[in-house]
C-alpha cells in the first residue's frame, strides 16, 4: 500500500464512524477497527523490505515553490512508531467499544480517534518537515477534542484547554525551529536534512534551532517544566489516556528527537539540555507518582517519569543509549498501555480509581489482577519482564556517563528514579489488588467481559514474551529502528536477561530493595508529603494565563474602544500617509499633456460645486438642507460627465441621483432632522486638517494623472476597434458592459440584487421586532400635511407613468448603439414606479404590484445567466455574444444581438433591486390601521357629491 494512503486512510475513515453509529455501536466499532486494520496491514506489507534495510519512499510535489512536498518515507524508526500507533490503536478501538457507556456519543469518539491516528501516522511517515508540522498541529487539535470528549466535565474541558495551550505553544516554537533548520540546509526534506549534520552543527543558528525544536518536543512529551499538562489530561476517557498519553502522542516528542538525533545530537548543548531535562523529569515524575492516590494520576506521573528516562537516554548522545531508548519505547508502550487499560477496568467496575478506597481486588477481579501485576512488575523492572531489560541497559548507559566532570551524579539520580519507580509500581499492585477484601467499594467489582480485557491481556502477554525472549521477539525491530536513529553502524549490545555481575545489576538490586523499603514506609511518608508545601502547577498556569488574557484584553480595549470616528480618522490618515509615501518614493512621469482651455460654462459649474460642497460642510447640521446641497453636487457631477463626453455616465448619474435623494428623504423621515453640535473646536480643527490633507492629496493625484500621458498603451483602442465588428454596437460603453466585460457586469448585477435582498432582510428583522410594533403605534404628527396624497401629484404621476416607461423602453432599445442601455433604462422605469408610491401611497401602489420585486431580480439574473449559457450551445465560451440584422416590415431593418437579452437581465435586476430597496424603506412608514383605499384617489368630487347633496 502506498505510504500516502496509509497516512490518509485514518482521515478518510474518520468519515465512517459518524455514519455507522446509526447501524449500532458494534457496527461503528468494527468499521473503525477495520479502517485501522487495513492501514496496519498496508504498513506490515512493507515490513520485510524495511527490515532488510530499505527505505520506502513516496514523493508528491504539493507546493514546490515553498518547499512543501507531500513526501513520505518509511524506515526502521517510522515502521516502529507507525506499528505502535496502528497496532495499539487497534487494541484501543476494541477496548473502547466496551469501555464507553451507552450515553457517550461513540461515533464522535471514533471520529476523533481516527483523526488523531491519521495525524500521528502522518508525523512518523513525513519526509518533509513542513508536512510534519501540519500533522504535528493536527495531533494537538485532535487530542484537544479527545481530552475534552466528556464535555460535561469541567476537568475535561480545562485539561483539554491546558494541553492545547502547552502543546500548541510548543508547536509554534517547533515551527520556528524547523524553518531555521530547513533554511540552514536549504531543503525542507527530512532525508536531505539528515545528511547534513556538519552544516547544521557548524551553523551559528544551530543553538536557536535546537532550543526551539526541543521546546516543541518537551511540551509534547511532557518534559519538565512542561510536564504538568499530562496529569490534567487524564480527565479524558481511559482509552484516550492509554492511547495518547502512554503509547503515542506523548512519544511524538521522543520520535522527533530520535528522528533528528543524527544531525542534532552529539554536541555539548544537546547533552546538557536534553539529558538534564530528561533526568530531572524522570526523578520528579517518579517521586510525585508515589504520592498520587488516583490510579490514573499515578500512571500519568509514571509516564512523565518514563518519558524523562527515554529523553535522558537520547540526550546522552551515544549510539548505545539510543538503542536503549528505542528498546524502552517499545517496552513502555506495551506495559503502560496495559496498565492504563487495567486502571480503566478497575474504574469501570469499582466506580472509583482512588487507591485509598481500593484493595483486596485480587479475588474479585483475578484476570485484571493478573494483567496489572504482569505490567506493573515490568514497570518496576523485575526480571523476566521486558521493563527489566531496558532498565538494566539504561542503568548501564547511565553509569558510564559523566556530567560536568562528575561521574556519579547521573547514575545516582537514575537509580533514585528507578527506586521510586519500583515503589510506585508495587504500591499500584499491592494497594489496589492485595490486602483484605473490603466491603465499602462504590460498586461491586468483578472482572469485565472478554472484549474489555482482551486488549490489555494481549499486551501483557507481549510483556512476558519480550521479557523472556527479547532477541527473538523484538531483536530485528530494535536493530532496524536503532540504525535509523543512529544513522550509522550499530554499537555492540545484546538483548538478553543475564548480563553477568556488573554495576547495572547492583544498581538494579539497590533500586528494588530501596523501593520496597519506601513502600513499607509509605504511610508516614505520605502524611509528610501531604503536609509539605509544594507548588500547584495548575494554579500557576491559570494565573499566568489569566494575566496574559488580561493584558491582551487591555490592549484590545485600548485599540478597539468602539469609537468609530476615531477608527475612521486613523484609517483616513493611514491611507493619506501610505499614498504620500508611495508618491514620494516612486517616480511620476512629467506633465506631458496640454491643458485644455476653460470656458465660462465649466467655470460656473465648478463654482456651483465648490460653493455647494462648502455650504454642505458648513450647514450639515440642517440635514434637509445638506441633502438638497448634495443633490446640487450630484447634478453638477452628472453635467460634468455630459460635458466631458460621457453621455451614458451623465444619464446614469442623473437617475441614480434622483433615486438616492428619494431614499435619503425616506430615511430622514424617521431620523432626527438636525445634527447636534457635539464636536469641540479642537476636534473640528483636527477633522478639518485631515479633510484638507485628504482633499489636497486626492486632488493633487488627480491633477498629476490628468496632466500625464498613459504610462502604458491603453487597451481602449481594442474596444473601440472591435465594438462594431465584434459586438455589433456603436455605443462602445454599452458594448463593453454587456459584451467585452459582460462577466463583470453579471457579477455586479448579482451584487446589486444581494444588496437589495440584504435591505429587505434588515427591514424584516427591524419591523418584526419591538421597533416595528412601536412604529406602528406612533401617533400622527400634527405638523404633517393632512392631504397625504395631493390630487395634482396623483394625477400628474399617473399620466406620466406610461410616458416614463416608454422613455425607459426607448433608452433601453437604443442603448446598444447610442447612449442608454439596461442600467439607465432600469433606473428610469424604477423612478416611474417610485413616483406612484410617492403620489398615491404605499398601500395603493403595493396593492397594484403584480410580481414581487425579489422575483424580478431573480428573473433578471436568470435572463443574464441563460444568455451566457446560450453561447455554450454554439460551442463558444460563456457569454460570447452574437448579432444579426432582421427585416420586420413595416419597421425596416433592425438589429438583434444576444447582448440585448443580457441587457434585459441587467434592466430587470436594476428595476427589482432599486424598487425592493425603496419599497423596504417605505414600509417603515406603515402605521397600524392603514388600509389601501378602495378608491383610485383620496379626493374625488363625484364621491363626495351625494354627501353634499344630502347636506343641501
Amino acid at each position: 500500500m502506498s505510504l500516502i494512503l496509509i497516512a490518509a486512510l485514518p482521515f478518510l475513515g474518520a468519515l465512517l464512524p459518524g455514519l455507522m453509529i446509526r447501524a449500532g455501536r458494534n457496527a461503528c466499532a468494527w468499521t473503525t477497527a477495520l479502517v485501522t486494520l487495513t492501514a496496519l496491514i498496508g504498513l506490515l506489507v512493507h515490513a520485510p523490505a524495511v527490515m532488510r534495510g530499505e527505505v520506502i519512499q513516496y514523493r508528491l510535489d504539493w507546493i514546490p515553490m515553498l518547499g512543501l512536498n507531500a513526501n513520505f518515507f518509511l524506515d526502521g524508526l517510522g515502521l516502529l512508531f507507525a506499528g505502535l500507533i496502528l497496532g495499539i490503536g487497534l487494541l484501543i478501538i476494541i477496548y473502547a467499544r466496551f469501555y464507553l457507556s451507552r450515553n457517550d456519543p461513540m461515533g464522535q469518539f471514533y471520529t476523533y480517534l481516527l483523526l488523531f491516528q491519521g495525524a500521528m501516522v502522518g508525523i512518523v511517515l513525513s519526509d518533509n518537515v513542513l508536512l510534519l508540522l501540519i500533522f504535528w498541529e493536527l495531533t494537538s487539535l485532535s487530542s484537544f477534542l479527545l481530552i475534552g470528549y466528556w464535555k460535561h466535565l469541567p476537568e475535561g474541558r480545562q485539561g483539554a484547554r491546558m494541553a492545547l495551550a502547552v502543546t500548541g505553544m510548543g508547536g509554534l516554537a517547533l515551527i520556528g525551529g524547523m524553518l531555521i533548520l530547513g533554511n540552514i540546509v536549504g531543503s525542507y526534506d527530512l532525508t536531505v536534512i539528515l545528511e547534513n549534520k556538519d552544516i547544521i552543527q557548524a551553523s551559528p543558528l544551530y543553538l536557536p534551532a535546537l532550543i526551539l525544536i526541543l521546546l516543541g518536543c518537551f511540551t509534547k512529551s511532557a518534559q519538565f517544566p512542561f510536564h504538568f499538562w499530562l496529569p490534567h489530561a487524564m480527565a479524558a476517557p481511559t482509552p484516550v489516556s492509554a492511547y495518547l498519553h502512554s503509547a503515542t502522542m506523548v512519544k511524538a516528542g521522543l520520535f522527533l528527537m530520535a528522528r533528528l538525533w543524527p544531525v542534532l545530537a552529539g554536541t555539548p548543548e544537546w547533552f546538557y539540555i536534553v539529558a538534564t531535562t530528561g533526568l530531572i523529569t524522570m526523578v520528579l515524575g517518579a517521586v510525585i507518582a508515589l504520592f498520587k492516590d488516583d490510579l490514573k494520576a499515578l500512571l500519568a506521573f509514571s509516564t512523565v517519569s518514563h518519558l524523562g528516562l527515554i529523553t535522558m537516554l537520547l540526550g546522552f548522545g551515544t549510539p548505545f543509549a539510543a538503542v536503549v531508548a528505542v528498546f524502552h519505547i517499545i517496552n513502555h508502550a506495551t506495559f503502560k498501555a496495559a496498565l492504563f487499560m487495567s486502571a480503566g477496568i478497575v474504574d469501570h467496575e469499582a466506580h472509583t480509581r482512588d487507591i485509598k478506597r481500593l484493595g483486596g481486588l485480587r479475588h474479585l477481579m483475578p484476570v485484571t489482577f493478573t494483567i496489572a501485576t504482569v505490567a506493573g512488575l515490568s514497570m518496576a523492572g523485575i526480571p523476566l519482564f521486558n521493563g527489566f531489560l531496558s532498565k538494566e541497559m539504561m542503568l548501564d548507559a547511565a553509569s558510564n556517563t559523566v556530567w560536568q566532570g562528575n561521574p556519579w551524579i547521573i547514575p545516582a539520580l537514575a537509580t533514585l528514579g528507578a527506586l521510586f519507580s519500583v515503589a510506585y509500581s508495587f504500591r499500584l499492585i499491592v494497594h489496589t489488588f492485595l490486602g483484605p477484601k473490603r466491603d465499602d467499594y462504590p460498586a461491586k467489582p468483578h472482572d469485565p467481559g472478554f472484549g474489555m480485557w482482551a486488549s490489555p491481556a494481549l499486551l501483557a502477554t507481549l510483556v512476558i514474551l519480550i521479557g523472556i525472549m527479547p532477541a527473538l521477539m523484538v531483536g530485528p525491530l530494535v536493530a532496524t529502528a536503532s540504525s535509523a536513529v543512529i544513522g550509522g553502524e550499530l554499537p555492540y549490545y545484546s538483548l538478553k536477561i543475564w548480563h553477568g555481575v556488573n554495576t547495572a545489576l547492583f544498581l538494579s538490586i539497590a533500586a528494588v530493595v530501596g523501593g520496597l523499603i519506601l513502600l513499607a514506609l509509605h504511610r508516614p511518608l505520605d502524611a509528610a508529603w501531604i503536609r509539605a508545601p509544594r507548588p500547584e502547577a495548575k494554579a500557576i498556569f491559570d494565573a499566568l494565563l489569566g494575566a496574559i488574557t488580561r493584558a491582551a484584553n487591555a490592549l484590545t480595549d485600548g485599540l478597539h474602544n468602539g469609537a468609530m470616528t476615531r477608527y475612521a480618522a486613523v484609517f483616513t490618515l493611514a491611507v493619506i500617509v501610505a499614498g504620500t509615501t508611495a508618491w514620494f518614493s516612486g517616480t511620476a512621469p512629467a506633465p506631458a499633456r496640454e491643458v485644455m482651455a476653460i470656458g465660462p460654462v465649466p467655470l460656473i459649474g465648478w463654482f456651483l460645486l465648490v460653493v455647494a460642497s462648502g455650504c454642505m460642510v458648513a450647514f450639515h447640521r440642517n440635514r434637509l438642507l445638506a441633502l438638497v446641497l448634495m443633490g446640487i453636487v450630484g447634478l453638477i457631477v452628472s453635467v460634468a460627465f455630459a460635458y466631458l463626453s460621457a453621455p451614458d455616465l451623465a444619464l446614469t448619474q442623473f437617475s441614480v441621483e434622483v433615486v438616492s435623494i428619494i431614499l435619503l428623504l425616506l430615511a430622514l423621515n424617521f431620523l432626527p432632522k438636525t445634527t447636534p453640535n457635539e464636536s469641540g473646536s479642537g476636534r473640528r480643527l483636527r477633522d478639518g486638517i485631515i479633510a484638507v490633507l485628504g482633499g489636497l492629496a486626492v486632488g493633487g493625484l488627480a491633477l498629476a494623472v490628468l496632466l500625464s500621458d498613459f504610462s502604458q498603451e491603453s487597451i481602449s483602442a481594442f474596444h473601440l476597434a472591435n465594438s462594431k465588428p465584434g459586438g455589433g454596437g456603436t455605443n462602445v460603453v454599452n458594448v463593453i458592459l454587456v459584451d467585452f466585460r459582460g462577466f463583470d457586469t453579471f457579477g455586479e448585477i448579482i451584487v446589486l440584487g444581494i444588496a437589495a435582498l440584504v435591505i429587505f432582510a434588515m427591514t424584516e428583522s427591524v419591523l418584526n421586532g419591538p421597533v416595528g410594533a412601536r412604529l406602528k403605534q406612533r401617533p400622527i404628527n400634527p405638523n404633517e400635511a393632512g392631504d397625504r396624497h395631493p390630487l395634482m401629484m396623483v394625477v400628474a404621476t399617473r399620466v406620466m407613468m406610461p410616458i416614463a416607461v416608454m422613455v425607459g423602453v426607448f433608452i433601453f432599445l437604443r442603448g446598444h448603439n447610442e447612449p442608454g442601455g439596461g442600467f439607465i433604462a432600469g433606473l428610469i422605469v424604477a423612478i416611474a414606479l417610485v413616483m406612484q408610491y410617492m403620489a398615491s401611497g404605499f398601500e395603493w401602489a403595493a396593492a397594484r404590484k403584480r410580481y414581487p420585486y425579489h422575483m424580478i431580480i431573480a428573473l433578471g439574473i436568470f435572463a443574464a445567466a441563460f444568455t451566457g449559457i446560450g453561447s455554450w450551445f454554439a460551442d463558444r465560451p460563456f457569454l460570447t455574444s452574437n448579432y444579426g440584422y432582421f427585416q420586420i416590415p413595416p419597421m425596416g431593418e433592425f438589429e438583434l444581438a444576444t447582448a440585448m437579452a443580457f441587457d434585459v437581465g441587467v434592466f430587470l435586476c436594476v428595476v427589482g433591486a432599486v424598487m425592493l430597496a425603496l419599497e423596504s424603506l417605505s414600509r417603515f412608514a406603515h402605521r397600524a390601521g392603514d388600509r389601501p383605499s378602495p378608491y383610485p384617489m383620496d379626493i374625488d368630487p363625484s364621491r363626495d357629491l351625494p354627501q353634499e347633496a344630502k347636506d343641501a
Binding site: 475612521a568 465648478w606 460621457a646 430615511a667 485628504g694 436594476v910
Partner: protein, 117 residues
C-alpha cells in the same frame, strides 16, 4: 479644464472626509456619498478628459474619448447606490432600535465586565 476637475475632486474629497468624521449616521452617509462622487470622477479622469468626443462610433468623428473608464464608472455608480441604500438602512435600523444615531459606542458596565472575563 484639468485644474477645474482636479480641484473639484479635491474639494469633494475634503468635504466627504470631514462629514465622514462626524459622530452621527446621517452626515457620515452624506460624507460617503460625497466621497463616491469624488472617487467616480477620479476613476473617470484616469481615462483623461475630452470634450465632444463621446465613445459612440459615428462616421464623422475620427477620435473618441476613452470608453473603458466610463464603463467601469457606470457600474460603480449603480453599485454605490446599492451600498448607500444598505448603509442608510443600517443607520435607520440602528437609530430605531437604539434610539440614538450616535456612531461611537458608549462603554457600558456590561461590556467592561464581558471583556474582563
Amino acid at each position: 479644464m484639468e485644474y477645474l476637475l482636479a480641484t473639484a475632486i479635491g474639494v469633494m474629497t475634503a468635504a466627504g472626509i470631514y462629514l465622514l468624521l462626524r459622530q452621527r449616521t446621517f452626515p457620515v452617509i452624506l460624507g460617503i456619498s460625497m466621497l463616491t462622487y469624488a472617487v467616480n470622477l477620479f476613476l473617470f479622469a484616469s481615462g483623461r478628459v475630452a470634450i465632444n468626443l463621446p465613445p459612440v462610433l459615428l462616421n464623422q468623428t475620427p477620435t473618441y474619448t476613452d470608453p473603458l473608464p466610463q464603463a467601469l464608472v457606470l457600474t460603480a455608480i449603480v453599485i454605490s447606490f446599492g451600498m448607500t441604500a444598505v448603509v442608510v438602512l443600517m443607520g435607520l435600523g440602528a437609530f430605531l432600535s437604539a434610539r440614538t444615531d450616535h456612531i461611537d459606542l458608549a462603554r457600558t458596565g456590561d461590556q467592561a465586565e464581558e471583556s474582563g472575563k
